[in-house]
């Protein structure tokens, strides 16, 4: 059933539309952003360090561009920070030490996974609250528009309907 058709039929249509929107939302959640690592000249030698490096730059935010991670940003500061990360990884620093180093300089802002506290509660819980609110709306809509058998028209009503349909609308 197409969306247009489903919209044209109130009872079943609302349910179909709701399902469609639900699947659309699910699809959006699944479509993870394609990883787009900026290319740097010196690569880390060991595959283990490389894996940690790529995990880190995916999760750290570029402090200049703000809505890009370090992996995706071409800003000079992101290049510098990636270089610093590689230096520290080679020097044997742990992920936690590297994160502390960056948070001390750029604040919690640098991390896409800030610790859960009073300031970040809305950030962490917001999506769940939104999904919950959306689910409630959908449930309410589905309940209200549960398909019912439409009451049959009386003879007089059918007669009136005929007249309405056949008559030309008055100009």
């Amino acid at each position: 059933m197409t969306i247009a058709a489903s919209l044209a039929r109130p009872g079943v249509g609302t349910a179909a539309t709701a399902w469609f929107l639900l699947w659309l939302a699910a699809g959006m959640l699944m479509a993870s952003p394609l990883a787009r690592a900026a290319i740097d000249v010196d690569e880390l030698e060991s595959p283990e360090l490389r894996a940690r490096y790529h995990a880190l730059i995916e999760e750290l935010r570029c402090p200049k561009c703000q809505n890009q991670n370090l992996a995706g940003s071409d800003a000079p500061i992101a290049t510098d920070l990636r270089q610093e990360l590689r230096r520290q990884l080679r020097a044997g620093q742990s992920d936690a030490q590297i994160l502390d180093f960056l948070v001390a300089r750029y604040g919690e802002f640098i991390s896409y996974r800030p610790p859960f506290d009073a300031r970040t509660a809305l950030l962490w819980l917001g999506p769940a609250l939104m999904v919950g609110a959306g689910a409630i709306v959908i449930i309410v809509l589905l309940r209200r528009h549960r398909p019912r058998a439409s009451p049959a028209l009386s003879a007089a009503e059918r007669e009136r309907l005929h007249r309405l349909l056949e008559e030309d609308p008055p100009q």
Binding site: A75, L81, V103, R105, Y106, G107, F109
Partner: protein, 194 residues
């Protein structure tokens, strides 16, 4: 189904639009800059460093910013906003408002010296941060950035972007005055005159 609910989406849309308009107007007025982040080093001492001074070549450290309030101005010759900012720094220097320490960030010494001899030198000293190490320790994200450092060498304010008269009056002067320093009081008076 009652009729007013038909208008609910419109009302929600208008409320959202009004909110965005409000934020946009505040950005235009310069009251709010989403790019401007408070420094993670706020109320902390300037990080330790040992770097050459641009003119003398001698190694200098954070003792440069001790004793009285000073500005730490991160600049570079490759930075377009620094061109815009430079005359105002010269003006601060001429009026003797506050000492300005330059941090020449990821730049070339020759280009930096040429810039200062052509445009005037507002700095009491210029720290050469060629590889951006001091910038990294300060949490610099680009140039220009300006830090207000108090007499004890602690960072009281960080401003990202070029300084001008308006920024000075609205952001720096009140903070300087709040610091209750004699220099701060003088600064507030000096810059009030056009």
């Amino acid at each position: 189904m009652s009729r007013w609910r038909l208008f609910l989406p419109l009302v929600l849309f208008l409320a959202l639009a009004a909110f965005f308009l409000y934020v946009q107007l505040r950005i235009q007025d310069g009251d709010y800059d989403p790019q401007n982040m408070p420094s993670a080093l706020l109320d902390r001492p300037v990080p330790a460093f040992q770097l050459p001074e641009l003119h003398s070549g001698e190694l200098v450290g954070s003792e440069l910013v001790a004793g009285k309030p000073a500005l730490l101005n991160v600049w570079a010759t490759w930075c377009p906003s620094c061109v815009y900012e430079h005359p105002f720094l010269n003006q601060l220097r001429e009026q003797g408002v506050i000492a300005i320490i330059g941090v020449n960030y990821k730049d070339e010494d020759a280009a930096a010296r040429r810039w200062l001899s052509e445009k005037g030198d507002p700095y009491t000293a210029v720290v050469v941060d060629a590889d951006g190490r001091l910038g990294l320790d300060l949490g610099v994200t680009g140039a220009p950035e300006t830090y207000l450092v108090d007499a004890s060498g602690r960072i009281r304010l960080r401003y990202q972007g070029p300084l001008d008269e308006r920024v000075w009056q609205t952001v720096f002067a009140p903070r300087l005055q709040a610091m209750g320093q004699a220099a701060g009081m003088a600064a507030g008076k000096t810059v009030e005159q056009p």
